[in-house]
Assembly symmetry: C2
Homo-oligomer: 504 residues x 2
């Protein structure tokens, strides 16, 4: 039973297990550049599926894509006081625009004559470069709203990196919108939070808590930040997406004013919102197991892997023919509005046993075994990626059954993750219990506790337990969560329970 | 007739006309960063359509997407001798990873303590960082071929920039493949050249000459380079896409060897191939006119603009209702395998006249006018973007007629561009005629002339006329072009005619 797949068991070392999944399932690997990863084709295929689904939702809600420069002039970062604190610290700084042959030896050196007048920062996020442009676009209320999204790479010079979860360069989308009123910007920020929540639940099969960030955890430059928070298998929180109401902060920093309907000059209200390749890390930590990557059907690069078998050329030709026919039927039948993503594994050098493990490792939702005896009996064997028995199904029903199973698996994953979260969410009212919950190296799950609303208490709790406030829920998770109480740390009055956890 | 659209006429100043089209049709604009542009939503929508079409063709030919780091360590550039000559000269160099508050005043300074041990270059192209990775992936012939494409941004610190055609940062795709044999790599390089040719002709409606580059014009690091070359309205060549057979150059630079079927250790053969946002510039210079942007239907963000009219609220409600119904019918009917891209223009502050000009400017393929009298008579008026009369069509036939017209317009644009190229392609056999053809500031078109095959002659011709060898055609453009002759410059023997032009 214990196959040597080169994967450290979860129970032994979750962090090593995560890294093994990423590498062994061919999702990503380290590159020669510190903190930057190579996203391999299998991992990138997940990102493409995520992009397609999100992009459709963005367009359905009236957004268009555009593209702004990779570079941010240093002086732009200085314009918004909080923003600079958050993002100037660790970033990639371009200082020169030329290399030249080393006059004193081999190789290349930076050409001192090619120093830039003003240094350029690789965008860690694009508020500043975009608001510099929006200021030119906006004169009147008739120019509003602006509803734009950008798919891009960004760089934050992180000291401790982990593939997908925190890398120096990562891929993301960043929406940047401009509005005439606070209320309209608020509606937009909430709308996009809900898009992210729907994406997490419907596509990723990951339940999330939607809430607002505390002042200490909000985006640098935001009026307030909304977040969706997922729970990992090792009982830590993962911030999966954020949507910021930026107020008039960037408009004031960049002088973005408009003539209102009433003829008054006013500052524009803004939002920004983003999700990144971190979602792939979130996906892994929600569903995968010791056998490898588990993909929810809606985001599985390969949903069905068909393995035709046969010892001789002639038999193989027959089973491959039947496999190809089933694959064509699945593609034509489709699931969830698109052709089923099916792969017929015709590799000749690999044994059926190797292929079974290999598709489990790579997260195919179902394997179909098709040998000469199956062909004779007019049936196929379906093996699920999740726990469960193999099933023999008449060939004529196979496509229909598989498509039904995809839907059932998507639901099962969500329900399983939801049950996991519910089993690991608790309400704690004493400091003793609170510290005990977060003691040691483990996660601790989500703890709903009362908080007095001050930064001092938040900092003290975090210093004592490493747990931080992940979200102030928008709707109570259970009745009574939003009722007043007493702060678990200070004993002072609290307006309602907030979500604490240790976070990735 | 002469409307003041703010567009310089082509005949007056082609370069100013081009810039006006880009800006006035909302395709792109300058950013605050030298040489970098903002691609606006209307321009980015063209890029998305190009991406979708190309990505489908890449996947149909067996390629997968992946993502490699933005940064190239300086030492990687040094590894391939020709490559470094071509790309180290003008590039963005990251030297530090932190800013800090200026201790002696306001603002931010580069933190001298955060100097990188080795400088990083923003990728001007990714051969080096990718081959560093491929070397780890390839051990045996069974690991080959590798067929990967990447959609990415790249940076080349160009001194003279022009939106879309030559910018410091641009968006592109770069395919990078690895093969066991020279022949297989050659087949791949040719296959991708043909993908680009099909894309240019079928989607862009731009005829291109497919050929091989001379040694002087090939990619830095290639064994040989294939190219497709288009002709602009001002009679210059535009390199629209290139496909490189890299031989074993990068494999040798990075030590990429594999065990062959016969058990021998051999160096891998490579190709790379790319097209970029430059294609949008090519598109503009192929079809647009003094009224604005002309988009071939397959790449038009808005194919049909419906303009409902009416002076009062009640009438407008009726014409808008009819417009929405026609839009829905067009989307459902589809064209070329996708829903028709249709926009109902309900802007209230703008006159019908303004809207007509505005949609001409932005390149809608057909406008549909729908006023109260049309509604009464059960018809609509269709106005083409290209020259031609307005046409009154029964409402019941409108969708079908429009869809037919999209196909006809796509063909017309291609035929028009082909006729333009044929009218401006000539064969010249004397140096006097040759220099006369390329005298002055104008373009000169494509000139097919004999060349002795030497770098010296190529350089001398270029110095004297500014015309360069754009391509050595793969198939003769006309019978006899591939027959031997006498070099137009040196009088020495030539193997066949090559294509000369002034190039963008």
């Amino acid at each position: 039973m214990s196959k040597n797949l080169g994967i450290t068991p979860q129970a032994e070392d979750y962090s090593a297990w995560y890294n093994d999944i990423v590498v062994r399932a061919d999702l990503a690997e380290d590159s020669a550049v510190r903190g930057c990863m190579v996203i391999k084709p299998h991992g990138y295929a997940i990102w493409e599926l995520m992009q397609r689904a999100l992009d459709n939702m963005f367009k359905e809600t009236g957004h268009q894509n555009a593209y702004f420069p990779l570079f941010v002039p240093k002086s732009f970062l200085e314009k918004e006081a909080d923003h600079v604190e958050g993002f100037a610290k660790e970033c990639a700084v371009v200082t020169h625009h030329r290399l030249k042959a080393n006059p004193n030896g081999k190789g290349l050196i930076v050409d001192p004559d090619a120093k830039l007048e003003e240094e350029l920062i690789i965008r860690p996020t694009s508020e500043t470069i975009i608001w510099n442009t929006y200021t030119k676009w906006i004169q009147s209320y008739r120019d509003l709203p602006i509803l734009i999204n950008q798919w891009a790479n960004v760089v934050r010079w992180e000291m401790r990196t982990r593939k997908f979860l925190r890398t120096a360069e990562f891929l993301w989308q960043e929406g940047h919108t401009a509005h005439a009123t606070y209320e309209e910007a608020e509606e937009e920020a909430m709308q996009m939070l809900n898009v992210y929540r729907r994406f997490a639940e419907h596509f990723m099969a990951v339940p999330v808590i939607a809430g607002v960030k505390s002042e200490g955890e909000k985006f640098a430059g935001a009026d307030h930040t909304y977040t969706i928070e997922a729970l990992t298998q090792d009982l830590r929180a993962i911030q999966a997406g954020t949507s910021h109401h930026l107020g008039q902060n960037f408009a004031k920093a960049f002088g973005t004013q408009f003539q209102s309907k009433e003829g008054k000059l006013e500052y524009v209200y803004a939002t920004s919102w983003g999700v990144s390749t971190r979602l792939i890390g979130t996906l892994i930590m929600a569903h995968s197991d010791d056998k490898g990557f588990v993909a929810p059907p809606r985001l599985a690069p390969v949903q069905i892997a068909i393995i035709p078998m046969g010892r001789d050329e002639e038999t193989r030709a027959k089973t491959i023919g039947a496999a190809d026919a089933l694959a064509a039927e699945l593609k034509a039948m489709g699931w969830d509005g698109v052709p089923v993503r099916v792969k017929v594994d015709t590799r000749e050098k690999e044994s059926p046993g190797f292929k079974h493990n290999d598709w489990e490792l790579h997260g195919a939702c179902f394997r179909v075994e098709l040998g000469p005896r199956d062909l004779e009996s007019g049936s196929v064997v379906i093996a699920p990626r999740l726990a469960g028995e193999k099933e023999t199904v008449p060939m004529a029903d196979a496509a229909r059954v598989l498509v039904e199973k995809l839907g059932a698996m998507q639901d099962e994953l969500y329900q399983r993750a939801l049950a996991h979260r519910e089993a690991n969410t608790c309400r704690i009212d004493t400091w003793e219990e609170f510290t005990a919950k977060f003691a040691g190296e483990g996660g601790g799950g989500f703890v709903l506790a009362h908080w007095d609303g001050t930064q001092e208490t938040e900092d003290a709790i975090s210093a004592a337990t490493k747990a931080t406030i992940r979200a102030i829920p928008l709707v109570p998770l259970a009745p009574g969560d939003d009722e007043p109480g007493t702060c678990v740390f200070s004993g002072k009055p609290s307006k309602g329970r907030v979500v604490f956890a240790k976070a990735y």
